[in-house]
Amino acid sequence: MSRLRVAIVDDEAPARALLREYLGAEPEVELVAECANGFEAVRAVEELRPDLLLLDVQMPRLSGFDVLGLVERDVAVVFVTAYDAYAVRAFDVQAVDYLLKPVAPERLRQALARARQRLGQPPRVAAAALQAAATPHAAPLSRLVVRDGGQVEVVPLDAIDVIEAQDDCVVVRTRGRKLRKASTLNDLAAQLDPGRFVRVHRCFLLNVARLARLELYARDSRLAVLADGSKIPVSRAGYARLRSVLPAT
């Protein structure tokens, strides 16, 4: 049996220490990383390729679910949290196990065994499907988590100008920068507040607050001029959608 490569992700040092101590007693387990936040976790998964994440949910800026939405590598996940309220979502993202704090050593051992079993099987879910599941379906998003290479950024919705569809991803235009995110415009549009973000064109999702004015440049074709002067096309259907959220003038 090969050694199980494990990374611990928790923002609280005692919680990490406890897991570290328990793992130390396990044969055939190698602790490859201890991460104090989600950013470190995303980097560790890319660079160290652990087999298993012991992942806290409530962490600053990036939650455990955000981390899963950002990693592009198949990695087994065991959630470790004080809250039982996330269990359903954990199931959605195909978590191997769900441990409640304070963790009992035999529960952890059980979770490790399950992870070994899962890893022995061919991966059933692609990373992208996991990402889709990692995003909540209920409340509209309050911010976007974007990863560009090794860099993870949390972009508040207010700071977004436009989200543009590209071949295999979307590009988020924010504060004069362009950030790529592995997602589709359809998925994002479904998760964003339709009163704030309007699909003005097949390829563009516009933050209505950024709209300066509309220009007519051909019959049935308009251009949205943004506050920073940049322009994006508005289709006929997009114009109708825009009209329905803008206050009547």
Binding site: D11, E12, P14, A15, L18, P60, P156
Partner: protein
Amino acid sequence: MHPILARRGRLGPYLGAWTSVVVLLAGLVRLAARVSWPEAAAVVVLPGVIYGFMCLAAFYPCKSAPLRAGQLGKALTSHVLAALLTGLVWLFVIDTWLVLLEPIRWLARVQDRTNEFIPVMLVAGVVVYLLVAALHYLLIAMEESQKTETHLLEARAKAAEAELKALQAQLDPHFLFNALTSVSALVGSDPVAARQMCQVVAAFLRDILRLRGERSIPLREELELVDRYLTIEQTRFGARLRVEREIEAGLGDVRVPPLLLQPLVENAIKHGISQIVEGGAVSLTAHRDGGLLRLEVHNPYDPEGMRRHGEGVGLASVRARLAAVHGPAAGVEVEAGGGRFAVRVAVPLEPNGELDPALPRS
């Protein structure tokens, strides 16, 4: 609801009192017709009892014409009309009774003197009716005041219950799960510290149980409780959680509602410090400002973090309890901006630095 018929135990006393009315009516017949007591009684007792029940109908005009300023004329008119009507029906009852009594020969004298006592009976009937109407007004007013009192008591009980609930809602059970995780970790690495941590957690829980039933506690005790809480949380967060205190000297005996600061500090950690990767400092200040004790808890927060909807349970509870004890004299002010979150609480001081001593202490 009829105040006499609908209430068990009221009809009996009413009929008892009515006996004296019947005796009075018999006396009037005796005087007016110059007959003996038995003769008068024979003529008046049965109609009198029937009239007793008839007068209970006075409730309906009382209900439809309540005694309110500006509507007294209406009430008077409807009662005079009702009284005359009842009086006439009463005469009809007496008359019918007299017809039934005709075969009895020893009552012949009374039958002959009908004209002498009938008008007296009409007048007496009207007067008695008006008295009964007044009794109804009295009972209705009594019931209303009782109802108001019940409502008031219910409202008070609800407020007290809400207060209690608010108090109980304050300690987030997840705090305990996390504290136990810390203890669990320390058992392996530093058993002495683990033991100390158990002591602090126990002391904190004991403080909560002891203090939350109190109406007010010295500020010193609240600060001790907060210190214990912070010690526990600092074990969790390590260097990420720093604490700055600026407590003016001499405020230790000032009385404040229990668990006034703890929920604010809890929020500062839960929604502020713990959401920031590098952490930050929770600042706690207390100072005297004229007749007020001013307390402030402030902390950095991540304006781009998860959005929170509405006001948390802790803050709402502090607000509600301060308002319940001090009314508008106390205040809670929240300020968020520039990545800093501040809650300012003002508690009125008595001249001697005490809470209003007139307030009952439970």
